[in-house]
Structure formats: structure tokens, C-alpha cells
């Protein structure tokens, strides 16, 4: 079922590319159709997902691949990955809707890359064979590089190369760590395997576990991104076309958090526990630093990108607090940030599509020109600054309340991030939406955009007011993660 899911997307990608030569309006429809039809193999899992019966995986399947090295196509879903897969599909849809009018140049190739990247991401969320995981990790990145480098804005090549170098460096570290892990396991048990479940049983010696863990850890925090490795993100976001920004913010960053939760914490519980205080300090610093940087930006997209850094700091914070509540919080934060940042980027893209500028100094008084779009922007800004009742708040709150017992002082610093969130959030509203009118009249949101944004807004409201189904779904995975750590 899971293989089908990925194959459908890849097939859709190829067909979209080919269909471009028939009519350049076809690829987007094919993208939508393949995204929707990829829900089909998922539906029995979603049905089963609500009734968890104590098994580790909701669904798992394995096909032999490279038997010589005992590498298999081992795909499985649990609550956490199911949530993220659903988020990916949904945000993929949003991205396609964003690109609807914006992309006309070589649209077939664009949707090919988009769908490939999505397929890679979903593969990352499903793969439980470490080698397969790495393969998907790369499948996800290369199309992304092309998307930024070909369809980006003025400084796209710089941004694309920066993005590629950073993530590729992380990927390399991860590959080294995967190899080291597998070889260490081979030395100890005499069995060569990349299988997650088997590697999970294996206890590494303390010193080697630390270094192997560090490789994974750095790869994932580059992706998240956390402060000393964050600087690819603002450039990539600023230069990427709207749809790509949406994918990047909503899904790609989540692979970092997912990797931490799925691999780093369960595989190296003691080593993770050892560095947890430092990591949390780093995360707190990231929260504050991202907030400060967001405030000082003039470019709207850059501002939102820095705010992402701040928000993803909460994810890291929650992951390493190693309590159930905080882990739930990290997952909620990933989901909510996925939705809210996607919406914010889509809105900024919509503004740029209309006025060809993202400069806060050139915008202003948007409310009088585009009242609906402004109201929506305000809603999502408010969501991202953590208003209770919306998804982001639940994430942040759970992270904070879960971490407080572990690291009270750092948690207090993280709470200050909420103040910064208000400061930079209001800056967007103040500079872009309010003040004297500076721009010419323009068409307000159309039906396609309205449906998209209202849908996302409702999703955030649902997450904020009734997060329990999501929490229940993730419970099994959280147990796995935290039980490992507590031992």
C-alpha cells in the first residue's frame, strides 16, 4: 500500500512531465489528480488508525531490494508518520494550488520535480530501512534544488546552491553515520542489516554511540533548521517560488524533526539524554535568535522564514525534553507550523503575485486594497504568534509544559520567544496591512485561493480546539520514543 502511494506520485510526476508537450495546462491537473488518488491507498490505514491495538506499526510492508547487503524496501507507518504523510499530501495540494497561475514556464518539469520531491518526502516518512531512508532523503532534495534554481526569483542560483550544499553536507554526515551504525552492528552481531527494527535492538558502546548519533543529529538539525546551521533557509525561502516555499516550510523542515523523533532518540537514547541539556540550550537560543532576526527583516518572506526557525526551535526543544507531553508538543508544533507557515508563504506569494514586491517598506495599507487577503494574513500571523485556540499554541504550550519539569530555566527563555513572536508578528501586520495606502488597487483573493486559505484556517482551528484525535494517533509513537529514552 505504501509502495503504491509513492509509485502513484512518481508516476504522476512522469505523466505530468510528458503531458506538458500536449498542453501546458495539463500538468497541474495531473498533479492534483495524482495527489488525490494517492489518498486511496491510505484510506484503509486512516480507518484503522483510529483504533490502535498496541502494535508498533499501523501497517508495514517489505520487499527485497539489494539482497547482497540485506537492503530491503521496508516501509511502515505509525501514527507519527501517518500524520506527516497526510500533512505532506495536503500541503502538496496547497503547493499545487499556489503554483496554479504562477508557474507557466516549463510547467511539466515543474510539476515533475514537485511531485518527485513530495514522493521523496513521503518515502522519508515511511522508510524504515536506513539505506532506503537515505535514498528517499536524496530524492527529496535534488528536485528541490532544481525547483529553486529554475523557477526561483532574482538571486535563485545562490540560494539553490546554498540550500544544496547545506543539506548535502548534512546528508553526507548522515550517510557516514548510517554506515557506521550498520557496520558496528555487523561487528557485534555478525549480521549485516539496515533494518530499523533490528538496529533498534542493538546497544552501541557509549563513545561510538555518541559520534554516530552526532552525525544523524547534525543532519537533522540542518534540516530543521537550528541556529548555527540555519542560514540556508532564509535565502532558499526568499528565492523559491511560492509553491516551493510552501513545500519547504510545511514539509521539508518536518523531515528534520521526524528524523530526530524516529531515529536519533530511539536509536541512541543514552547519548541523546547526555546531550539533551546542550541541545535544549541550542533550541532556546534558536527560538530567541530566530525571533530577533525575524524582527529585523524587511523582506516579508525572509521574515516568515526566520519565524520558521524560531518555531522549529520549539520542535527541537520538545524533542529533547524527553517527556511524553513535550514530544506530543513537538509533533503538534510540526503539524501546526506546517499548516500556518504554508499559509503564510502562500499569502506572501499571493501578495507578490499581485504587487511584485515582498519589501515591507513598499507594502502598506494592504487592508484597504485587499481586505480579505489581509484578514487572512492577519489570521495566520496571529496563529503563528501562538494565539490560544489555534494549532500553533497547542504545540508550543505542550512543548513548554512538557519541558518545564526537565529544564525550567531554559523553558522560561523559550517563553520569551512568545513575546518575540508577538513583536515580529505585529510587525508584519503593521508594515504590510496597516498604515497609509501605498499600492494600486488589485483583485482580491479569488475562489481558488479562498477555498485554500479558509480550509487551512479551519484546519488550524481544529488543531487548536480539538487536538485529541491527533494526539491519540501519535500516542503509540510517542510511547516508543519516550520509553526508549526513559530506559
Amino acid at each position: 500500500m505504501l509502495l503504491e502511494l509513492i509509485v502513484i506520485l512518481l508516476l504522476g510526476a512522469v505523466i505530468a512531465w510528458i503531458s506538458d508537450s500536449i498542453d501546458n495546462r495539463l500538468p497541474k491537473w495531473i498533479a492534483v489528480i495524482s495527489l488525490l488518488s494517492s489518498l486511496y491507498p491510505l484510506h484503509p490505514i486512516i480507518m484503522a488508525g483510529s483504533s490502535s491495538d498496541g502494535q508498533a506499526w499501523l501497517v508495514s510492508e517489505s520487499y527485497p531490494w539489494i539482497e547482497r547487503f540485506n537492503i530491503s524496501l521496508y516501509l511502515a507507518l505509525d501514527g507519527l508518520s501517518l500524520l506527516l504523510v497526510l500533512l505532506s499530501l495536503l500541503m502538496g495540494l496547497v503547493a499545487v494550488l499556489c503554483a496554479w497561475k504562477e508557474i507557466s514556464f516549463r510547467s511539466g518539469f515543474f510539476y515533475f520535480n514537485l511531485l518527485c520531491s513530495l514522493a521523496g518526502t513521503i518515502g522519508v516518512f515511511c522508510a524504515l530501512d536506513l539505506f532506503l531512508f537515505f535514498v528517499f532523503w536524496e530524492i527529496m532534495l535534488v528536485p528541490m534544488y532544481l525547483l529553486i534554481a529554475i523557477w526561483g526569483y532574482e538571486n535563485r542560483r545562490y540560494a539553490a546552491i546554498k540550500f544544496f550544499l547545506f543539506t548535502q553536507a548534512g546528508g553526507l554526515l548522515m550517510l557516514l553515520s548510517i554506515c557506521a551504525l550498520v557496520l558496528l552492528h555487523y561487528q557485534n552481531s555478525g549480521e549485516l542489516t539496515f533494518n530499523y527494527d533490528q538496529l533498534l535492538q542493538h546497544q552501541l558502546s557509549e563513545s561510538s554511540a555518541f559520534w554516530v548519533m552526532l552525525g544523524f543529529f547534525i543532519a537533522f538539525i540542518i534540516k530543521l533548521p537550528i541556529v548555527p546551521f540555519h542560514n540556508w533557509l532564509p535565502d532558499a525561502h526568499t528565492q523559491a517560488p511560492t509553491a516551493v516555499s510552501v513545500i519547504l516550510a510545511a514539509i521539508l523542515l518536518k523531515t528534520g524533526g521526524y528524523g530526530l523523533l524516529r531515529f536519533v532518540l530511539p536509536l541512541f537514547p543514552s547519548a541523546s539524554a547526555e546531550i539533551a541539556p546542550y541541545v535544549m540550550a541550542l533550541a532556546a537560543f534558536s527560538i530567541i535568535y530566530g525571533g530577533l532576526m525575524a524582527f529585523s527583516q524587511q523582506d516579508l518572506k525572509r521574515l516568515v522564514a526566520y519565524s520558521s526557525i524560531s518555531h522549529m526551535g520549539f520542535v527541537l526543544f520538545g524533542c529533547y525534553a524527553m517527556t511524553q507531553i513535550a514530544t506530543h508538543g513537538a509533533i503538534m508544533q510540526m503539524l501546526a507550523h506546517g499548516v500556518s507557515s504554508a499559509a503564510l508563504f502562500a499569502l506572501v506569494g499571493a501578495i507578490q503575485y499581485r504587487y511584485h514586491t515582498r519589501d515591507l517598506n513598499q507594502l502598506g495599507g494592504l487592508w484597504l486594497r485587499l481586505p480579505k487577503l489581509s484578514a487572512l494574513l492577519l489570521f495566520f500571523v496571529v496563529a503563528s504568534l501562538g494565539l490560544p485556540g489555534l494549532g500553533n499554541f497547542i504545540g508550543e504550550f505542550l512543548v513548554l509544559i512538557g519541558s518545564f519539569s526537565a529544564m525550567p530555566k531554559l523553558t522560561i527563555i523559550a517563553v520569551c520567544g512568545l513575546i518575540l513572536a508577538a513583536i515580529y508578528g505585529l510587525k508584519i501586520a503593521q508594515k504590510a496591512l496597516f498604515g497609509p495606502v501605498k499600492l494600486a488597487p488589485c483583485a482580491d483573493v479569488d475562489r481558488r485561493e479562498m477555498a485554500m486559505f479558509v480550509g487551512l484556517a479551519l484546519l488550524l482551528l481544529w488543531m487548536g480546539l480539538h487536538p485529541q484525535p491527533l494526539l491519540d494517533l501519535a500516542q503509540q509513537s510517542v510511547n516508543l520514543i519516550t520509553v526508549g529514552v526513559e530506559l
Binding site: H328, P388, L398, C416, A422
Partner: protein
């Protein structure tokens, strides 16, 4: 069965304004044009319905005879120990609060119909206003801290939106930002309090927290009283949250600026309801606060400082709404003082009367501003008593109540506060309160005389519509007679000084003093006014610098800007280009430099290549020979 009925009533009370807000919002989003009448009907109708339902709630609740009522509607979050639900908790305190919110809220809604009639954003105004009411009701009814926090942030957001309602003036937006961010600082403290309470007590339910707190940290008479123990820390953090929301020193500077919003908003949010949320919070946690003498002292001190600070600042302002704003800060200072003295009933009583008379004052100020064509400087007004007798009457009643002239509503509540201070033997605070009362009376009548007496300078050009007159009249009645029903409030809190306790002999003299103080202030004010000594400018006064300092609100605003805002902005500007990015660019610069250097080796000169080949061969040979 009865429980369900009451629960449904409560839910309806909260949901009705929310429903109307959502409906209006959706109609705006999906371009369904609504006429102003239908907007009015929906918004104000829902509000009226909510007010009526609160009345029903009150009637229904009387059966409970002061027992608290709580009901859980749905689960919110449930992970392990963390169990949160959407639940309401009704006791006399929250009943009083929802009554004030819906009652005063309804009147202000009514008033807004006329006031905002000409505004293009009529619908948006009512969306925000309804949203606010709903959030405020959630705040006061919430049975757990997180739901309270939801309401707390919700009202903050609405306050932000309404202060910046006329968003084309950048100044308004700055004021709105300031309000939101400053209260957010308090909110962060509240959030930390929430985290701490959960960590220490393992619950977020307000009643459970207090129950456990009483068990866990019994008040120890032997230990030194003002200890910084856990309960004090929790209480102080809660206090910090309350300070932010209620505009108390040192986080009060946003409130005078918040007057940038439409006047009904100032009346509803920045006088009657939202800013008193801090008072409500402390009153709600009175058992917790009772456990910590240190926190109580802090509450009282902050109240006292604010009270004097704001009252003196109000003495010299020239903007009508700013005076009222400072007066609000000062009056909330009174409430804090009462809370600090443990006189929770007195505080809530004053909260109620303050809601009445301050709403009245703001609304009549609004009516005045409305009829004068948005003139707010009191020195440009004068002699309006004859032109606008009704507003004058309202204003007079409001000022009298504010100054606590005998037998106005404000008199009872303020008197009660003073009395409780004496009972608690807090003489220092009592003296401050008396001084504050004197100043209060002085500035209120300065305001009144300057507007309504003397020479006429302005002519009102608009007649008030009925929708503005009715709420004014009702509030007028409430301000005058609202103080006669304090007995209801006696049941609010267990312990603490009883309301209107029998006046003992030794305090009779002091009692007379409290009556005499405002009267003498009014007389003094009249004398000065007759001599035309009030002046907008500062050069006529003997101590112009001091007066300017007062005018600037003791310069606290400036100080905060110098100490926090400007360094913050400068820090951000300095690091605008992200020094970490620079560091990573350094890496690329280094490799580019290396590239250039290496490129110079590859110069295409054959002989150079041959030489380097030979040289390296020699080096290699030498190293082999020497290193062996």
C-alpha cells in the same frame, strides 16, 4: 437536569457573540453584502440575547445559594497527567463578572450603533466587539488556567485590533502594537505561572490548584512572613500577568496610548472589562494569594504606586480620553490595593462600580467628541453645560462617582476599600489611598469644570441619536445607584473583611475624613478654576519641569523606550544581516581565495609546469631520503 440547563445557558451566553462574530466574518470573507441594519440586528441582537441569558443564569444560579457550579463540555487535551477540558466554573465572582461584561457590553454595543454609524468599517467593528465579548466571557468563566489563558489572549488580540481600528494612521497602529506587546510580556509571566503551577501541583484546574496549594503550603505563622517560597513565586508570576493586562505600574504605559481606538472601545475594553481582568485573576486565585504575604504586599504596593502615579499624571493632561485613561489606571490601582489588603469583595465591588461610572464617563466623552466633531482637547472646550445638558449631567454623575462623593456608587466602593485597609492596619497604604482620593476628585472636577463651565468655545454640531442616549441614561442610573446593592457581593469570598461592616466608633472620625477629602478637593478645584489657573501650557506654573514630568506620566514611557525598546531595535538592526550567515559566507570566501591562489599556479606556462614538476620530484626524493 438543572445542571444541564444552566450549563447550556452559559454555553449560549459565550457562543452567541461568537456566533454573530463568525457569521459577520464569513459574510465579509465571502462577499455577502449585509446592510448596516442587519449587521446591527445580528451583533447587538446577539449581545442583548446574551445579556438576557445572563439574567436567566443569575436567576437559575440563585438556587445554588452561593455554591459553585462547574460543568465540563468537552475534552480539550488529555495526555497522561495533563487533562484539560472546555469547562466553565460559575460562582458569585464569575456571575458578577459576566453580568458586568454582558450588561455594560450590551449598553456599549447599543451606543456604538450611533457612534460608528458613519464609519465604513461598521461591520468589522462589530465583529471585533463581539469576538471580544466572547473571549472575555471565556476568560471569566474558565475553570482551568489554559482556557482562561485562551480568553486572556483572545481579549488581548481584540484589544489590539480595536485600538488599531482606524488603521490608516500609523500612530494608532503603534499604540496597538505597544498594547499587545506590553500585555504579552505580562502574558508570558502568566504562562510561566501556569507551567510552574502544573509542575508543582500537577493540575491546571483553578479550583484544584487552590485546593492543593492550601494543602501543600499551609500558611505558617511561625516562619518569617515575607518569604520567597514557591507559592509566592507562583503568586508573583500571576501578579505579573495581571499587571500587564490591567495596566499597572510598570507595565501601564500602553493604556494611555490605547485611547487611539474608538471611544466605545475605550469604554468597554480599556475601562470596564478587559483591564479589570487582572483584578479578576487575582480575585480568582485569592486562596493562593492568601498563602503568600509577600505576594499580597506586592499587590498592595503595586496598587499604591500605580494609584498615585496615574492620578498625578491625570492632573495635568489636556486630552480628554488620556485623563480618563490615567484615571482608569489609578482606579485599578485602588482595586489592587484592596486585593492586597485581602479585601477581595471590596475590590470586585469597586470593579463593578468602576465599570459603571467609567463606562459612563467614556461614553459621555464619546458622545461629546461625537457631537463636537472629534475634538478631544479639554482646553478647547468650555461652557458646554448649556449646549449639551444631558451629556453634562452624565458627566457630572460620572465625575461625582469617580471622586467618591457621598452616596454615589463610587463612594460606597471606595469607602469600603479604605475601611478594609484600616481593618488590616495598613495605615501607610490607607494614607496613600486618601491622598489618591483627593487627587482623583481634583482631576475629575478639573476635567468637568474645564469642559462644562466657563466660556463657551465650541458648538456641538450633531444631535445624539436615541441609541446613544439610552445607554447613557442607564449607565447614569447605575453610576448613581449602583452602590446600593453590595450585599450580593458579600457571598463572593469566604473569609476576608465583610462588606460594610458596622462602623465602629474609633473609625468614625476617619470615616468623616473619607467623606471630607473629595469634597474639599472639589472645592479647591473650583477655586482654582475660578482664578483661571488651569493651563494647557507649562510655563505658567511655578514648577514647569515637574508638571511636564507629570504630563509625560512620570517619564516612565520614555524610560522604557530608552532602556528596552531602543536597544532592542538597535540590536536587531546591528545584526540585520545575520552574523552567522556571515560566518558561513566566510567559509565560501576562504575557498574562493584558495581557488584564486591555486588558479594562479595553473598559468599555462609550460616551463613553469616543468619546473614545478621537477621541484616536487626533488622534494619527494629528498623527503624519501631524509625521512627514511
Amino acid at each position: 437536569m438543572q445542571d444541564h440547563y444552566l450549563a447550556n445557558l452559559l454555553m449560549l451566553v459565550v457562543l452567541l457573540p461568537l456566533f454573530s462574530a463568525c457569521l459577520l466574518m464569513l459574510s465579509a470573507l465571502f462577499s455577502v453584502k449585509l446592510s448596516k441594519t442587519s449587521v446591527t440586528l445580528l451583533a447587538v441582537g446577539c449581545m442583548a440575547l446574551a445579556a438576557i441569558l445572563v439574567l436567566l443564569v443569575g436567576i437559575e444560579y440563585s438556587d445554588y445559594a452561593g455554591q459553585s457550579f462547574s460543568y465540563r463540555y468537552a475534552n480539550w487535551i488529555e495526555i497522561g497527567q495533563l487533562r484539560l477540558s472546555f469547562g466553565f466554573y460559575l460562582d458569585p465572582l464569575s456571575l458578577v463578572m459576566i453580568a458586568i461584561v454582558t450588561g455594560v457590553g450590551f449598553l456599549i454595543h447599543l451606543f456604538s450603533i450611533g457612534f460608528m454609524q458613519q464609519d465604513a468599517d461598521f461591520q468589522r467593528f462589530f465583529i471585533y466587539l463581539n469576538l471580544f465579548i466572547s473571549a472575555m466571557l471565556t476568560l471569566v468563566l474558565a475553570d482551568n488556567l489554559l482556557l482562561l489563558f485562551l480568553g486572556w489572549e483572545g481579549v488581548g488580540l481584540c484589544s489590539y485590533l480595536l485600538i488599531g481600528f482606524w488603521h490608516q494612521q500609523p500612530a494608532n497602529i503603534l499604540a496597538a502594537n505597544k498594547a499587545f506587546i506590553m500585555t504579552r510580556i505580562g502574558d508570558a509571566a502568566l504562562a510561566i505561572a501556569l507551567l510552574l503551577l502544573f509542575l508543582l501541583l500537577g493540575s491546571l484546574n483553578i479550583q484544584e490548584i487552590q485546593l492543593k496549594a492550601v494543602q501543600l503550603w499551609p500558611l505558617d505563622d511561625n516562619a518569617s512572613q515575607y518569604r520567597l517560597d514557591w507559592v509566592s513565586i507562583c503568586a508573583l508570576l500571576l501578579l505579573a500577568g495581571a499587571i500587564g493586562k490591567s495596566g499597572q505600574f510598570p507595565l501601564h504605559t500602553w493604556l494611555p496610548d490605547a485611547m487611539a481606538g474608538p471611544t466605545p472601545v475605550s469604554a468597554l475594553i480599556h475601562a470596564a472589562t478587559m483591564v479589570t481582568a487582572g483584578v479578576y485573576l487575582i480575585a480568582r486565585f485569592y486562596q493562593l494569594f492568601n498563602l503568600s504575604p509577600l505576594a499580597m504586599l506586592a499587590v498592595a504596593s503595586i496598587g499604591a504606586i500605580t494609584l498615585i502615579l496615574a492620578a498625578t499624571a491625570a492632573l495635568v493632561q489636556s486630552d480628554l480620553k488620556r485623563i480618563l485613561a490615567y484615571s482608569t489606571i489609578s482606579q485599578i490601582g485602588y482595586m489592587f490595593l484592596a486585593l492586597g489588603a485581602g479585601a477581595y469583595s471590596a475590590a470586585v465591588f469597586h470593579l463593578m462600580t468602576h465599570a459603571f461610572f467609567k463606562a459612563l464617563l467614556f461614553l459621555s466623552a464619546g458622545a461629546l467628541v461625537y457631537s463636537l466633531g472629534h475634538q478631544q482637547n479639554i482646553f478647547r472646550m468650555g461652557g458646554l453645560a448649556k449646549k449639551t445638558p444631558f451629556i453634562c449631567a452624565c458627566f457630572l454623575a460620572g465625575c461625582a462617582a469617580l471622586s467618591a462623593l457621598p452616596f454615589m456608587s463610587g463612594y460606597f466602593s471606595k469607602d469600603f476599600i479604605l475601611e478594609s485597609l484600616l481593618q488590616q492596619q495598613m495605615y501607610g497604604f490607607w494614607a496613600i489611598a486618601i491622598i489618591g482620593a483627593f487627587i482623583t476628585a481634583f482631576y475629575s472636577f478639573r476635567l468637568f469644570f474645564l469642559i462644562f463651565c466657563g466660556d463657551c468655545q465650541l458648538n456641538p454640531d450633531k444631535k445624539l441619536p436615541t441609541s446613544m442616549i439610552i445607554p447613557l441614561a442607564l449607565l447614569l442610573l447605575l453610576s448613581v445607584f449602583g452602590g446600593i446593592m453590595p450585599a450580593v457581593l458579600n457571598v463572593l469570598f469566604e473569609g476576608g473583611p465583610a462588606l460594610l461592616a458596622s462602623v465602629t466608633n474609633d473609625s468614625l472620625a476617619l470615616h468623616l475624613l473619607t467623606i471630607a477629602t473629595p469634597i474639599s478637593a472639589v472645592l479647591l478645584c473650583w477655586l482654582i478654576f475660578r482664578k483661571h489657573s488651569f493651563s494647557e501650557r507649562f510655563n505658567s506654573s511655578l514648577t514647569p519641569r515637574f508638571k511636564y514630568l507629570l504630563f509625560m506620566g512620570w517619564g516612565i514611557d520614555r524610560l522604557q523606550e530608552k532602556i528596552f525598546t531602543q536597544p532592542f531595535i538597535r540590536l536587531c538592526q546591528a545584526n540585520k544581516n545575520d552574523f552567522i550567515d556571515r560566518l558561513s559566507q566566510l567559509l565560501s570566501h576562504i575557498s574562493q581565495y584558495g581557488h584564486r591562489q591555486l588558479q594562479r599556479l595553473q598559468n599555462g606556462k609550460l616551463r613553469w609546469y616543468a619546473a614545478s614538476l621537477i621541484l616536487s620530484a626533488i622534494v619527494a626524493l629528498l623527503s624519501i631520503v631524509l625521512l627514511r
